[in-house]
């Protein structure tokens, strides 16, 4: 479904990601891991259309979308739950969801809200609350819910567990697994490698903007060198 | 002579523009009320010399009084959110004109006339203005090179980070305000003794905007760019008598065009030109 072909992207003259190639097939999860500043978020934002692509191509359903504005990518079915959540803090939960579903019809909106509510029952009582005043976990749920409102076929999700309580992380991952089983493709960035390995089908490790390792999740779990390089917890 | 007259206008306008450049250009504090300090200088000097005071004492006195008010305004501005500053200083400008209008001892609406001639003749007066303008240019260039300019630069870019380098942002801002307003006071005093008559309309919002335009068209923070812009814009309406009816229109379009095509102002244009010239020289 999604293919990156020697993607190079960055900010001004600065390259955040260099010649990255990877593939996310339908209904599979790819986890990007790597140290701070390795270029994981930049990769996601480039796929979403927010970071300038300096070389290579982004293919979605075999169509080259490298030059498309972010607005049309969401119509194709790419939705983003970005780093730091980037909710609209002065808007209510309901309104954040409306924006999430802006690329779909008003009728679809009602249906999708129900789906999100079913996924995160905790949001149900809080539709009128301002997004900025919610707890971190609720905000993360809303960020994911907002992305789902766009009826995506590819979900880009950055730092899923950032600032979340362990129990909430469990909820989130359970939800992601269910969505994956329903056929959604997911490109995921995660600091907690264990969580990533648990859900991912494939893993790609970035360092300073380059892919230094990629393979199946099983292989990743069994490769102690990788764990050491990333976690520094050899013992 | 007419040319002398124009040169005099240019000289005190250069001082006035550079005084704002200290605050807005060097230290990054946009002010839309700078004419108030020009006015304070002009009124101080006018009151002093019409009362029999010496012209030579009037100049430092005008600087001191304007600088004093600059200190107060600068102090109050420290509290105000960054993007509110422009409007707050604009308010200061209106408070100044509003206050002066109602004060009998400042001549109210009617202003103060009969400001005595400095008694040195027209050409020497122009030369005096020129010497002072040169001094202010030199001072500006020096400040820019000095550690103060360096610190101003840092504050203009990022106050919070400047603090982490041990820079006392508040005191620097106040210093910029005091220097800038004192120099505006000097320009005001020179203006008052040139026109020999001050009234409040000469220091209104339009004047504040005009001087800000000089600074930004010149290239914010650039000394030579601002000098060129001030010298040109201050007498442009007179030079453009041929355009007659379209003079102000031309001025407005010029402001817009400079911002549209050269957001860096005259300074960036001069640099571009310089690069092209020196580029050709090395090539040839």
């Amino acid at each position: 479904m999604l293919q990156l072909d020697r993607l190079t992207c960055g900010y001004g003259p600065f390259r955040a990601v260099t010649e990255l190639s990877l593939e996310v097939p339908d209904g599979s999860v790819l986890a990007l891991i790597g140290a701070n500043g390795a270029g994981k978020s930049s990769t996601l934002m480039a796929v979403a259309g927010h970071v300038a692509v300096m070389g290579g191509r982004v293919l979605f359903d075999d169509a080259d979308i490298t030059a498309e504005p972010a607005r049309s990518r969401v119509r194709r079915g790419i939705a983003l739950a970005p780093e730091g959540r980037r909710l609209f803090p002065d808007l209510t939960v309901q309104e954040n969801l409306t924006v999430g579903g802006y690329s779909r019809s008003q009728r679809a909106e009602a249906r999708n809200v129900e789906r999100v509510m079913a996924l995160f029952p905790r949001l149900e009582g809080r539709m009128k609350q301002l997004a900025g005043s919610m707890s971190g976990g609720e905000q993360q749920m809303l960020a994911i819910g907002r992305a789902l409102m766009a009826e995506p076929r590819l979900l880009l999700i950055d730092e899923v567990s950032l600032g979340l309580m362990p129990t909430v992380i469990d909820v989130c991952y359970a939800a992601l697994a269910r969505l994956r089983d329903d056929g959604l493709a997911i490109l995921l960035v995660e600091q907690s490698t264990q969580r990533a390995f648990d859900i991912a089908d494939t893993v790609c490790v970035l360092e300073s903007g380059r892919a230094v390792w990629s393979g199946t999740a099983e292989a990743a779990r069994e490769d102690p060198a990788l764990v050491e390089a990333y976690l520094g917890l050899a013992g | 002579m007419y040319e002398i007259s124009l040169l005099t206008v240019m000289c005190f306008s250069v001082i006035f523009a550079l005084s704002l450049n200290l605050i807005t250009g060097f230290c990054g504090q946009i002010s839309l009320g700078h004419a108030a300090f020009y006015g304070i200088g002009a009124y101080t000097a006018a009151l002093f010399t019409t009362d029999g005071g010496s012209f030579w004492l009037a100049l430092p006195l005008a600087m001191a009084v304007a600088g004093f008010f600059g200190f107060i305004v600068g102090f109050a501005s420290l509290r105000v959110r960054h993007d509110f500053l422009a409007i707050t200083t604009m308010g200061v400008g209106f408070l100044f004109t509003g206050f002066v209008r109602q004060q009998e001892f400042l001549g109210g609406e009617e202003g103060i006339a009969g400001i005595p001639d400095p008694g040195i003749g027209q050409i020497p007066y122009m030369l005096l203005c020129a010497v002072l303008a040169a001094a202010v240019i030199a001072f500006s260039l020096y400040v820019k090179r000095s550690w103060m300019g360096h610190a101003f630069d840092a504050i203009a870019t990022d106050e919070d980070t400047a603090r982490t380098l041990g820079i006392d942002v508040a005191r620097y801002k106040l210093t910029a305000f005091v220097f800038g307003t004192a120099l505006a006071g000097l320009a005001g005093a020179l203006f008052a003794h040139y026109v020999k008559f001050v009234e409040v309309e000469s220091f209104d919002f339009i004047e504040s905007i005009s001087v800000l335009a000089m600074v930004i068209v010149g290239g914010i923070g650039s000394v030579w760019g601002v000098v060129v812009a001030a010298a040109f814009l201050s007498v442009m309406p007179l030079l453009l008598q041929v355009f007659a009816d379209f003079k102000l229109l031309f001025y407005g379009v010029l402001l817009f065009a400079v911002m549209y095509f050269a957001p860096g102002g005259i300074d960036s244009l001069m640099r571009m030109l310089w690069r092209r010239i020196s580029g050709r020289r090395t090539a040839g």
Binding site: G49, H50, P69, A70, R71, R73, V74, R75, L80, P82, R86, F88, P89, D90, L91, E95, N96, T98, V99, G100, G101, Y102, S103, Q106, M149 | I30, A76, R79, V80, R81, D83, F84, A86, I87, T88, M90, G91, V92, F94, L95, T97, G98, F99, Q102, F205, L212, A213, I216, V217, D245, L248, L249, G252, L255, F256, A257, V258, M259, Y260, P263
Partner: protein, 286 residues
């Protein structure tokens, strides 16, 4: 002294300020541009409205046509003049805007003449009594317009999808775009609404004074700036309240404070006093 008289007069004046200032704050909220030339658009509305009325004889028709036409003019204005400056530092757009304002006033002077022009048969001049205060019909229309248009705007912004899209764009343009919101369209609509409101204010002021001059935008230009800062830059509701508050304060100040400060200075004295106590403005969340 009749306090209710002063209060009502102040509120009417505040409604005029509000119609002008709301557009300014909309533009600032979305683009961070201090849109000084907004006052030029206000004057344009006054000219077009007056000339159309004199031409067609119908004030109502002229009003509607003007508001819509000037709204479109505002869109073109944004496209031609501001869009290319969006990624420049804010003072660039500020000076460009001042330049445009000066140029607009001069164009009006050259095209329409320096002296004032008036309605041949100004409508809405009868006076009626409301709560013991005698008011011209025109003034009542101003209040209705302010309440209906700004109230409508509040509803539009608060309830409709497009309004939510607008607020999302203000909050985080890149994220809004990534959910399919057309930023360009939001900005066009923004300028349409802002300019249409300014035009409405322009026509009403023209009618109340029965004179239109090239420089009539001067006073609103800077007073509206004070109002949007008081209202907490970018905040529609705050702007409305600040406008009404300023109208009332000026109204009383004109009578009771006039020996100390003139009317314009009262507005700014109020502004500075408020900022010293609340540096973020009356209604800012940030």
């Amino acid at each position: 002294m009749n306090y209710s008289d002063l209060l009502v007069q102040g509120l009417v004046e505040g409604c005029i300020y509000a119609l002008i200032a709301v557009g300014l704050t909309l533009v600032y909220g979305l683009l961070r541009i201090l849109h000084i030339a907004h006052a030029g658009i206000f004057t344009l509305g006054a000219y077009v409205g007056l000339l159309l009325t004199n031409e067609t004889g119908s004030f109502a028709a002229a009003f509607v046509i003007t508001v819509v036409a000037v709204g479109f003019f505002g869109m073109a204005f944004y496209r031609l003049f501001y869009e290319p400056l969006l990624d420049k530092p804010p003072h660039v757009a500020l000076i460009a805007s001042i330049g445009l304002f000066v140029a607009m006033e001069e164009i009006y002077r050259i095209v329409f003449g320096a002296t004032s022009i008036s309605f041949l048969a100004p409508p809405l001049k009868e006076t009626v009594e409301v709560a013991g205060v005698r008011l011209e019909e025109g003034r009542i229309v101003v209040v209705i317009l302010a309440v209906v248009l700004i109230g409508g705007l509040a509803v539009l912004a608060g309830r409709t999808r497009i309004g939510i899209a607008w607020r999302a764009t203000v909050s985080d343009a890149a994220m809004a775009e990534s959910f399919g919101i057309d930023l360009a369209r939001v900005r066009y609509i923004n300028f349409f609404v802002a300019s249409a409101l300014a035009a409405a204010a322009g026509i009403m002021v023209a009618l109340l004074l029965n004179q239109v001059i090239p420089t009539m935008g001067g006073v609103p230009a800077y007073k509206a700036l004070a109002i949007i800062v008081l209202g907490g830059l970018g905040n529609v509701k705050g702007t409305l309240i600040a406008a009404l508050a300023l109208g009332v304060i000026e109204s009383f100040g004109t009578i009771y404070l006039d020996d100390v400060l003139d009317r314009d200075a009262i507005a700014f004295a109020f502004l500075i006093a408020v900022l010293m106590i609340r540096p973020q403005g009356l209604f800012s969340r940030r």
